[in-house]
Symmetry: C2
Subunit: 223 residues, 2 copies
């Protein structure tokens, strides 16, 4: 196992995160790099979902940035799955802003890739407040967390384009109403797509891959 | 069902949260009110754990403050369980500070109670950064979240006195190593107590109640 270099990213000293995020999107557009921002609570299965995507992304030039407050557990996992991955540490911060994302992309050498996935810090609140420069935002909610989460954490569901409902293989162990979840999510964001998966068994991952390919294609066509 | 009044709490305009937290602890000490701060990720089972504590707290004068960004789902649940509960809204903020807690306690009329439990915003990062004025801090980690969380979210485990490991009834559905979790938690905080429970079935809740009674007794004796 090669040694994992830790990239310590620093929040922007400027106040205009939205402007920085738009600039970053322009830069990514020029190199044809699609940036996807993946968010969720701790333990919802962000890394396991990325691992389950690996077989669908064969032949694609892609890379992952793992953001954590501490540890390099997830980078180790992704590298074992054969994915080029770097580890960002946020110095205690609960989210990534556009400047931190830019620092990570520079380290990655993002212009080499068609797709870079940012796995954000596990947190259903703060990451939603900061545009990272991503083309699309995706949230994972896992079945054990409960179907009421869009009611309590509205901004995350407002900001995301896709809601992946993970751990459906353990649905029978929990009081989880999938239709109620869809209803709660639609209250926050009528446009949000919802795909149920089990990252563990692989069920539903074909639909996630299909969603991603479509979004990449649409974005490639765009002005 | 009586109407739920929403208390909008505002963050302190002063910078010295630690001083405000200490002052609040002094005030609570005078009225003999033990404040416990309960934290976890979204969906780890804070409210369900509090509900499971109800039978053990019969005869005690106690009250709950539910903090959320939005909704009053949890307050409704606790009131249905017969517990005096108020709902705090944080105006989008990801945590409570001492001043927000003080506003809540004032609304509760905390000097009437021996015990007030603050259910913090569901977030494993930011709430750990702010002393609320509580005598003891408790974190819940649920089995589906995984045993590696103390490695990724160090501060929460450093700051807490008790780690409740919830949802042990579904242990067999997940790759969760309880001994590994204890080891990871001890790395962050060798003093932390760890109690496995199922808030759903009630298993282990007697130990949580016993821990709480002991802490309240010790605190009552203290200078």
């Amino acid at each position: 196992m090669d040694e994992i270099k830790i990239i310590d990213v620093k929040a922007s000293i400027f106040s205009d995160n939205d402007r920085e995020a738009n600039e970053l999107r322009n830069v990514l557009k020029k190199s044809g790099t699609f940036l996807m921002n993946l968010m969720s609570s701790p333990g919802s299965g962000k890394t396991t979902t990325l691992k389950a995507l690996v077989p669908y992304l064969k032949g694609m030039r892609w890379s992952v940035m793992e953001a954590d407050i501490d540890s390099e557990v997830d980078t180790r996992t992704m590298r074992q799955a054969g994915v080029e991955t770097i580890q960002l540490h946020t110095g205690g911060m609960c989210h990534l802003d556009a400047e931190m994302t830019r620092q990570g992309l520079k380290e990655v050498g993002s212009d080499k890739y068609e797709l870079v996935i940012l796995e954000n810090v596990g947190n259903l609140v703060c990451p939603a407040e900061f545009d990272t420069g991503a083309v699309k935002n995706v949230v994972i909610l896992s079945v054990p967390e409960g179907d009421d989460k869009p009611l309590k954490y509205p901004l995350m569901f407002e900001k995301c384009d896709l809601l992946i409902v993970n751990k459906i293989d353990v649905m029978s162990c929990f009081d989880f109403d999938f239709d109620q979840l869809k209803e709660n999510a639609a209250l926050r964001n009528p446009e949000i797509e919802v795909i149920p998966v089990s990252a563990k068994t692989g069920e539903g991952m074909d639909r996630v891959a299909e969603w991603l390919f479509n979004e990449m294609k649409e974005w490639g066509k765009g002005e």
